[in-house]
Symmetry: C2
Subunit: 136 residues, 2 copies
């Protein structure tokens, strides 16, 4: 496996699955760019690592046991595309949605942009309608 793929796997595992927000310090560049991520409150923004940690904490709060499972990875140049499934138990209310206590699932593709051995941003699409239909 390439270094970039191994870094992305570690990052998704530690930061997004296990919620170790301080691990962002070793995985991300000082400025992280969200190139495209419809529905994400930070879509289009450039974030400091501290702001990115807040994004992780806020995103994970409704689903603290969330898990990304990687289906496939495709790497070329500085980009690593990751196709994934996701599941999490909806235990904390989101704006407009009361927690159901039920497991929610979805899927998506994230294209990570590498800068050396760090991740500098992403372009992402997720199946938001799938989530919407499960939480409403």
């Amino acid at each position: 496996m390439s270094d970039a793929k191994a870094i992305v796997i570690d990052y998704m595992h530690h930061v997004w699955n296990d919620g170790e927000v301080d691990a962002c310090d070793r995985f991300l560049t000082r400025t992280y760019t969200i190139h495209h991520d419809p529905g994400d409150p930070w879509d289009g923004q450039k974030l400091t690592i501290e702001a990115f940690k807040d994004r992780v904490s806020m995103s994970r709060a409704p689903f603290p046991n969330q898990q990304f499972v990687i289906d496939t990875m495709i790497e070329e140049g500085i980009k690593v595309a990751v196709a994934w499934h996701w599941m999490g138990t909806f235990v904390t209310d989101m704006p407009g949605f009361r927690a159901t206590g039920q497991v929610v699932t979805t899927s998506g593709v994230t294209i990570y942009y590498m800068e050396g051995d760090r991740i500098s941003g992403h372009w992402q699409v997720t199946d938001r309608l799938g989530v919407f239909q499960q939480v409403r």
Copy 2:
């Protein structure tokens, strides 16, 4: 540009943008597998080329002027990931949705699986909620 990327660009242009369904004969393998495509009526199915042509015709009918614009392509081995934006004017009713005459936009990532110089299937996620919010 690699052969595979050129084939995928040609395929998206001729089949999905211009609606030349018979061009499927030269782009696709005899059986086409939809590995993952939530919300697509053919999700998970293996289609003959004739069945695939029906899928193209039915999918394009509500938005006959639809255009995919490619943002980026990432190729490794037999896979080509394509991140895209899409737009189309909603002129023909869909089940449950009356045509609005308005332009609808969305985005997605499609991972195409190559078999030699033909496409044998895909894994795709699109921003369905974005479409849902524009057509309801």
